[in-house]
Symmetry: C2
Subunit: 228 residues, 2 copies
DNA sequence: GGGTAAGCCTACTGGTGAGTAGGTAAGGCG
DNA sequence: CGCCTTACCTACTCACCAGTAGGCTTACCC
């Protein structure tokens, strides 16, 4: 599961700073995700990273700085993964579907990162939660914009910006929570989990905007552009 | 927000054990919710409770025992609140609606308790998470049974037990997550948050079982029992 | 009133973990 | 080759916190 490089013994090989920093960050995400911020010790992180504690302090600063850096890195990675996954020119439901797939794909390929990001960051107080709230806000805006566009699309005079934002918050929340649940029940593949949420949610949103039932793109004829 | 009794100075007044235990539990939930399990110190809990540390150990055992007891107490309280809130003889959608209202009502009236229950318990590992998973499992079964019944009700040959359980998990997850979100954005009343989730979710489920759109009971004539 | 048990305390120990002081090897460059 | 910068280390300090030893005081009951 968490396959960092083996524990060192003796002096570590000389490596350029950028490489070491990457190793340290990977180790930190791993340890923070397993133990939580407080229970994780700088000693353990340095051990997993294969270096000594002073190196850790020299490169990444205090424990809190290190944690904040982890959060920022994982948040950025995730937002990038989603941005790249979304099919921006597709109809709204397909945009949402591709976004969900990208999201669950990221979480599945990056469980430790997600754990740090969501569970740990939100249960610590202060600036960490703020960092998270920021990313969450961006995600919500994204979904809200999608919803507004989608009701324009269907010519329905519903869904003011406020309403859309609330619904987006609920959807983002549902996604986060389902991802958490998935971490504890990892039997199913990402696509199935994503499809479940899509089904649950879009059929609701579908009623809001058009009263329709949603099917995955591959079963539709009028949108068979990309399939893969 | 967390209005425990003021900090003592000197010797505390003599009180029967049961009362002290209650005070200690309240203090513990308060402190755990604010700081998290690890960052919370027994010193601070005893101070908030208005007694000294050895009393704490004499009555509630170790820090871990205390935490587990908190989780159990809050979990029990919550399940009771929901059980009492659900209108068991009502149609499925109204059952769900009343359950959601009871849930968000409990969270709103008991924020610290919810925080301990959900955020803290799930981010600690081991027996705590297990305790939580147990309660969650009961909640999911409850919702799943409701869904199965609801599709019987609509004479739709859909929603096998497995499918129902997945959907129930997603719904419970969405509820938990929306509750978390609400803690961070406490501007709205419980009813509004509950209604939002009901709307989002039932209109999805409604399609699953009957293709219908949901309205709150007060707008319907055939089920205008309570309003408040 | 006197015994005694329940309620309460101050004041410690031991362990753990954040952060640092001060020093050693290794590669590059004149 | 010798110098110096960068990478790296061992071995500490200091604070904080879980858990405890041992003793004081109040209420109740005979």
């Amino acid at each position: 599961m968490h396959a960092e490089q083996p524990v060192r013994s003796g002096r570590a090989k000389r490596l350029p700073r950028a490489v070491r920093e990457r190793q340290i960050m990977d180790a930190a995400v791993d340890v923070f995700s397993r133990l939580g911020f407080h229970a994780a010790s700088m000693d353990e992180i340095s051990e997993v990273a294969g270096i000594s504690k002073p190196m850790l302090y020299a490169y990444l600063g205090s424990k809190e700085e290190l944690f904040a850096t982890c959060i920022r890195r994982e948040a950025t990675r995730m937002m990038e993964a989603i941005s790249e996954g979304v099919e921006a020119e597709a109809p709204p439901d397909v945009q949402l579907w591709s976004g969900l797939r990208a999201f669950f794909g990221f979480v599945g390929a990056n469980r430790a990162g997600w754990q740090v990001l969501h569970r740990q960051a939100s249960s610590q107080g202060g600036p960490f939660a703020a960092e998270l709230a920021d990313m969450r806000g961006r995600a919500i805006s994204l979904v809200a914009a999608l919803l507004v566009h989608s009701s324009d699309f269907a010519n329905v005079p519903r869904a003011g910006d406020k309403e859309a934002e609330s619904l987006a918050a609920a959807l983002v929340g549902a996604g986060e929570s389902l991802a958490d649940w998935w971490l504890d029940n990892p039997a199913e593949p990402a696509g199935v989990v994503a499809a479940r949420l899509m089904n649950l949610v879009w059929m609701g949103f579908g009623d809001l905007v058009a009263g329709e039932v949603w099917h995955p793109p591959s079963r539709r004829t009028e949108y068979a552009a990309e399939d893969a």
